[in-house]
Amino acid sequence: MTDAVKIANRNFSVFYGATRALRGITLDVPAHRILGIIGPAGSGKTALLRAMNRLNDLNPDCRVEGQILLDGVDIYQPDFDAVRLRKRVGMVFALPVPLPLSLFDNIVYGPRLSGIRARTRLNALVEGSLQAAFLWDEVKDRLHTSAMRLSGGQQQRLCLARVLAMEPEVILLDEPCSGLDPISTARIEEALIALKSKYTIVLVTNNTKQAARVADTTAFLFQGELVEVGPTGQIFTMPKDQRTNDYVSGRFG
């Protein structure tokens, strides 16, 4: 555990056309911790998450201001390689999107694209990432069956394993348990808590209780602004801002 800052958002704003989705966000993502980002629909949670691995680049209407520093280097500077960024900063989406391939091929898809060919290396990546995603024991005997035959919770852990196989430094998760039952959710949460010793994790969630369970630090966004950020224990017992209090208590959102 360290108090180093892995990603530093500095007065960062995102515009979609004329609409300002994020307003001057200054927020540190501590290394080897889980940062939870909570807020009602339209608060800018996903916009901020996507900005951290430049997924907004694909949207021609999108414009950004300010800086996002990864290990002190601005990821929006012109010569920063977005592909390399996405290898270092992986993303897990709300809905699991397994490729229509075997479990094995799902996981080695990225590593193969990045040039890894040695079978022993690929085998090791598959086992290591499935174990880290708490999925190995359930699927180790059927690695060559279709990923589409997994349950929703298993598919989501497969997607997490696929990100881990790229050996990233940061994992961004956008409501990763939104469609999952409580047991599957608990497995993902256990995996995240175990993973933070090796990775830095940013978890966007609509489920405030999930942020309370797993996040070390929680940030509350509202209408594109960062209202409050603090240790999760404090946010859920003694929030400083009335809006945070009302949101975490379910009074709106």
């Binding site: 309370a212 017992t237 929030p239 400083k240 801002d241 945070t244 209090n245 208590s249 379910g250």
Partner: protein
């Protein structure tokens, strides 16, 4: 979901206020039973104990139900935790009223002692503290809660004074040993009632400010950055 939780919290608040009114009434009756040697009043306090205990259990069960079903956070969580603790203090005050009534029943059978103890003043102050802290709970008045904490010292001083009086009186009057001991006990019970009123005040400060001020008297005088107050 939230509207349900708010309804449950409102119901809990009403139940706790009923309990506090009953306990306040018991303390008043117990003190009068001692002062006026009223055996019937003392007996009434003893009879009511079971009801107070039952209400305490009901309030606690309500709190546990709310915690399990709604998993409240922030101001709602602090409110439930404060109610759980205040509930326990109120039940203990109810017990102390019963103890005072029991001592009162004993003293009714004894000749009057010709010594002026400031038990009446002490009882007034303890009852005032109790009344003020319950008002502070209703109004979520943090300043009033702090004033209650500050008043505890006066009661402690009277208790020490009565202890000295009893110590002196018992030396030359061995036959008064038991009634004097009962008076000392009553003084001790009143002093404990004031302590419980102080506990309630400290729980209120936690509810309003989100800070635990027990064991830290220096913090009681400082104004902190407050979290949003509970919307009760």
């Amino acid at each position: 979901m939230e509207r349900h939780l708010q309804r449950e919290i409102d119901k809990l608040k009403r139940r706790l206020l009923e309990l506090s009114a009953e306990v306040e009434n018991d303390v008043r009756m117990a003190v009068r039973a001692v002062e006026d040697r009223e055996e019937t009043l003392a007996a009434t306090v003893l009879r009511r104990e079971a009801q107070i205990n039952a209400t305490e259990v009901e309030v606690e069960e309500e709190c546990l139900k709310i915690l399990a079903l709604y998993q409240p956070v922030a101001a709602d969580l602090r409110y439930i935790i404060a109610v759980l603790k205040i509930n326990q203090d109120l039940e203990r005050i109810g017990d102390l009223a019963v103890h005072i009534a029991e001592r009162g029943l004993f003293l009714c059978q004894q000749p009057r002692i010709d010594i002026q103890f400031r038990l009446g003043t002490m009882a007034d102050k303890a009852q005032t503290m109790l009344k003020k802290v319950l008002d502070a709970f209703v109004n979520l008045d943090e300043a009033a809660a702090r004033a209650v904490c500050a008043a505890d010292g006066e009661i402690d001083a009277i208790h020490r004074e009565i202890f000295q009086q009893v110590k002196t009186a018992v030396t030359g009057n061995a036959q008064l040993f038991e009634p004097l001991l009962q008076i000392l006990h009553i003084s001790r019970h009143l002093e404990r009632i004031a302590d419980h009123a102080t506990n309630i005040a400290e729980d209120l400060i936690y509810l309003i400010e989100g800070r635990i001020v027990r064991h830290t008297p220096e913090v009681l005088t400082k104004k902190p950055d407050k979290p949003p107050p509970p919307a009760m």
